[in-house]
């Protein structure tokens, strides 16, 4: 027998190997990695579980690392989808023109306090008052600026413990933007928050003795719950946990001067005031919307995705998943959004998101 295969047998061998490789490729599940916002994490997890039923071949991993990390990892190409409560800054967007900021839903943020004496009661807070608390100018719960907007409420004479997020967080971006916008007007005190601190996913917080830090929304709720007289900002998706822990969700002063709680009506009203101003790249802040009945702390929840994927298969899988997420019959259905107190994207914004998703190649 010849030690050399005949050409016919050799060709047959190639065909078998190629077929086997093709079959392996077909059967191997495609994996997409997500990382980022802790605010969207609870609903994102549920989206992934539900989507697995319609595309079993696709595997999506999720990680609640914070919005700052979500953006950074998506830009670096370490994950296919970064999630963020904040859009990328102008400089980040200019440095990475291939990265899209795609709104998936509209979220809200609450400001929660642990005041045992007021459990079950109401508490009103405003941007300038919060700015002064986080600057250390207002130190006690019964300080005059708080008492002034809470007439008839018996406030305790206890030091306020402001809690901040430790990691780069979209929640910090939204909260500090509220402080910035609401202290821009002359009634915002002697020096505005924007002058001294500004807004970002991480900011240089003014030193306040006794202030605490927490990681993630879950960490924020636990820290406030375990610290009497603490105050912090919490994503709406953790509102139920905050409520169960006995925290008071503050009524916040909006642009029109009214104090409101986040409800489907006040969040939708704020969204309808501002979503028409959404530009083509969809990077828009919804904080402190105009309108008498607009809750001031709302935001787009973003998927941060590169429009240049390594192959068509990956691009197609990401596009299909994101299209499902923003669909009213998919991820934007009330069965997903209501439990986390999100609201669906308005039709016009869903159309803009679809245009951006179509760019993923």
């Amino acid at each position: 027998m010849s030690r050399h295969l005949t050409p016919r047998i050799r060709w047959a061998g190639y065909v078998v190997v190629a077929a086997a490789a093709f079959a392996t490729a077909q059967s191997a599940p495609l994996t997409i990695a997500e990382s980022g916002s802790t605010l969207i994490y609870p609903v994102f997890q549920k989206w992934v579980e539900a989507y697995a039923k319609s595309d079993p071949a696709l595997r999506i991993t999720v990680a609640a690392t914070g919005s700052g990390a979500g953006i950074a990892q998506a830009v670096a190409g370490h994950v296919q989808i970064g999630t963020s409560d904040a859009y990328m800054s102008d400089n980040q967007a200019m440095a990475s023109p291939d990265i899209l900021n795609i709104p998936l839903a509209i979220s809200a943020q609450t400001v929660d306090a642990n005041i045992p004496e007021l459990r079950g009661g109401t508490l009103k807070l405003s941007g300038p008052v919060l700015a002064d608390i986080y600057s250390g100018k207002i130190r006690s719960w019964d300080a005059a600026p708080i008492a002034e907007i809470n007439r008839g409420v018996s406030l305790p004479h206890h030091a306020i413990v402001p809690v901040r997020r430790a990691e780069g967080a979209g929640d910090t971006f939204i909260f500090t933007q509220y402080l910035t916008f609401s202290t821009e007007s002359p009634d915002g005190g002697t020096q505005s928050w924007g002058d001294t601190v500004g807004y970002s996913t991480t900011v240089k917080w003014p030193p306040v003795s006794g202030a605490l830090t927490a990681t993630g929304n879950e960490g924020m709720v636990q820290t406030i719950a375990h610290t009497p007289y603490a105050l912090g900002y919490v994503g709406a998706s953790f509102e139920d946990e905050a409520s169960q822990a006995g925290l008071i969700t503050a009524m916040l002063r909006n642009q029109a001067g009214n104090f409101l709680l986040p409800t489907p009506a006040t969040v939708s009203n704020a969204a309808s005031e501002l979503t028409p101003r959404t530009p083509a790249d969809e990077r828009l802040t919804l904080v402190l919307a105009p309108g008498a009945n607009s809750y001031p702390l709302i935001n787009y929840e973003y998927a941060v995705v590169s429009d240049k994927q390594p192959n068509a298969q990956s691009a197609g899988a990401i596009s299909n998943f994101l299209l499902w997420c923003i669909s009213p019959q998919g991820g934007n259905a009330s069965s997903f959004l209501d439990p986390v107190h999100f609201i669906p994207l308005p039709t016009s914004i869903r159309a803009r998101s679809e245009i951006q998703i179509a760019r993923i190649q």
Binding site: D90, N91, M94, F181, E184, S192, G194, D195, G198, Q255, L274, R277, T278, P279, D281, R283, L284, T285, L286, V287, L288, P290
Partner: protein, 504 residues
């Protein structure tokens, strides 16, 4: 061929006498006016072009700043430093470089300032940080400061006395035309490049034209007036000949008598900065500086109403900048608003150009100061008014102020500052006046918000009315009428400390 014979009277004629002399044809016909030579036109155009680009770039910086602030993450406090950098540059430029023209010549500084301007403008296009931006704006400020006295002198020392007012102010008006051009270009750039880098393109549009102006300035003659004052009679004669080339040639020959140099301490002045405050020049220094300072006060005062005027005329800005699109839209609104205000400014200056040589600087400055005071008073009545009456009062007061300041003190203080000092110390005197006014401007910029908070709009405006009436009084009390007067005569009479009467 030049006539080599000359009378005795020709021997004592000054450069300005030759420049002012109306040509007489061989048949004895005297021309009714003195036609500009090609060199005079070139000098004027290059000075006006410089003013144009100054207005262009100053405007651009106003439009560019919010974009730059967003790109470099500049805080409001740092924005204050940006304004301070430009101002510091203007002070250094006006006092330092402007006065150097008394030593190194008008042409030298005219060229140097444009090189500085173009270099820092080009560098500004490529700024990558807050610090590099501050450096560029400081550099541009130096060029701007230097140009205050230099552009004035290069024109006024090279053109006939009778048209000096309209030609100097005509060039000055190009600063406003440049601002209007800047508005148009800024708007177009924001439409074409609606992103954070738009400000780089705005600066970039001016680089090549500025370079051409720089090159053009190498081809002009040095001021014969200055050379003569320095005792360099030969070069002065040569410069005067180059300046006054006509076909047929007139004057046919130029003969300048040797003059004692400034350094010798005789004749037409010269001396240090301190001499500006001595008995000899005190009158001129007060007339050039104090009204200019007072005029700058009022400009800030009326600025209180600018947001109302703009919001009413062209619409409100976004309540908060929520996206880059919002920022660009705000910038476009600002460009349109500035264009509207600049148009008012140009109307006033055009009137000043037409009237300066007819009514006289002093009269126009006094009329302007009083008109501004009336404008401020009308605007102050808006404090108690409401609704459409309030808007009408603000608009009337604002527009009257804007017209009167440009007809009067804004234009005339600039004109007078370059005329009331003798040639040898003109750079120092005009430079000091510009710098003094800018110090006043920055002081009021810092003090106004505090005063507004403590005494309120009404009393602040009353204070400014008093300042403007004071401006009119100071102008009258220290008056030196320069309309149509030979610059050399102005020098002599400033020395004597007596008011010069109009000779036009």
């Amino acid at each position: 061929m030049p006539d080599v014979s000359h009378s005795k009277s020709e021997q004592v004629r000054t450069v300005q006498d030759y420049i002012d002399e109306g040509p007489i044809w061989p048949d004895g016909t005297r021309l009714p006016s003195v036609p500009m030579t090609q060199m005079q036109r070139l000098i004027w155009m290059l000075a006006a072009a410089g003013k144009f680009f100054e207005g262009f770039v100053v405007f651009m910086t106003g439009v560019a700043l919010p974009l730059i602030a967003r790109q470099f993450g500049i805080s409001p406090t740092q924005k204050g430093m940006v304004a301070a950098a430009s101002l510091a540059g203007i002070l250094v430029g006006a006092l330092g470089l402007g006065s150097l023209s008394d030593t190194f010549g008008r042409k030298s500084m005219f060229v140097v300032e444009m090189i500085i301007f173009t270099a820092f403008l080009a560098a500004a296009v490529f700024c990558t940080s807050f610090v590099s931006l501050i450096i560029c704006l400081f550099g541009l400020g130096i060029a701007l400061g230097c140009d205050y006295p230099t552009a004035h002198m290069i024109i006024s020392e090279n053109i006939p006395s009778t048209s000096r007012g309209k030609l100097v102010l005509g060039a000055f008006a190009f600063q406003a035309v440049g601002a209007l051009g800047g508005a148009a270009v800024g708007y177009a750039v924001l439409m074409a490049v609606p992103n954070l880098d738009a400000w780089r393109w705005m600066y970039a549009t001016a680089v090549v034209p500025a370079l051409l102006v720089t090159v053009g300035r190498f081809f002009i003659t040095e001021s014969a007036n200055w050379l003569h004052t320095r005792g360099n009679t030969e070069r002065a004669t040569e410069a005067a000949r180059k300046l006054l080339v006509r076909t047929p040639q007139y004057p046919r020959n130029i003969v300048l008598a040797p003059r004692p140099t400034a350094a010798s301490g005789h004749g037409h002045g010269g001396g240090s900065f301190l001499s500006l405050f001595g008995r000899r020049y005190r009158r001129a220094t007060i007339l050039a500086s104090v009204p200019w300072f007072l005029q700058d006060l009022g400009t800030y005062g009326i600025g209180i109403f600018t947001p109302t005027i703009l919001a009413t005329a062209i619409g409100h800005k976004a309540e908060h900048v929520r996206s880059l699109t919002d920022l660009i839209a705000n910038e476009r609104l600002a460009a349109r608003g500035d264009a509207m205000i600049t148009t008012l400014l140009i109307i006033g200056i055009v009137c000043a150009v037409l009237l300066a040589d007819k009514l006289g600087r002093i009269r126009l400055q006094i009329i302007g100061f009083i008109g501004c005071a009336v404008g401020l008073f009308i605007a102050s009545l808006s404090v108690d008014a409401a609704g459409s009456l309030k808007i009408a009062l603000i608009f009337t007061g604002f527009m009257l102020f804007d017209f009167m300041t440009n007809l009067g003190p804004n234009a005339q203080t600039y004109l007078l500052a370059g005329e009331v000092f003798p040639t040898a110390i003109r750079g120092k005197g005009a430079g000091f006046a510009a710098a003094f006014a800018k110090i006043g401007a920055v002081m009021t910029a810092f003090l106004f918000p505090i005063l507004l908070a403590t005494i309120g709009t009404r009393f602040l405006l009353y204070g400014l009315i008093v300042a403007f009436v004071l401006g009119a009084i100071v102008t009258w009390f220290f008056r030196i009428e320069t309309t149509g007067v030979n610059l050399d005569r102005i020098g002599e009479e400033a020395n004597e400390g007596a008011p010069t009467t109009a000779a036009a």
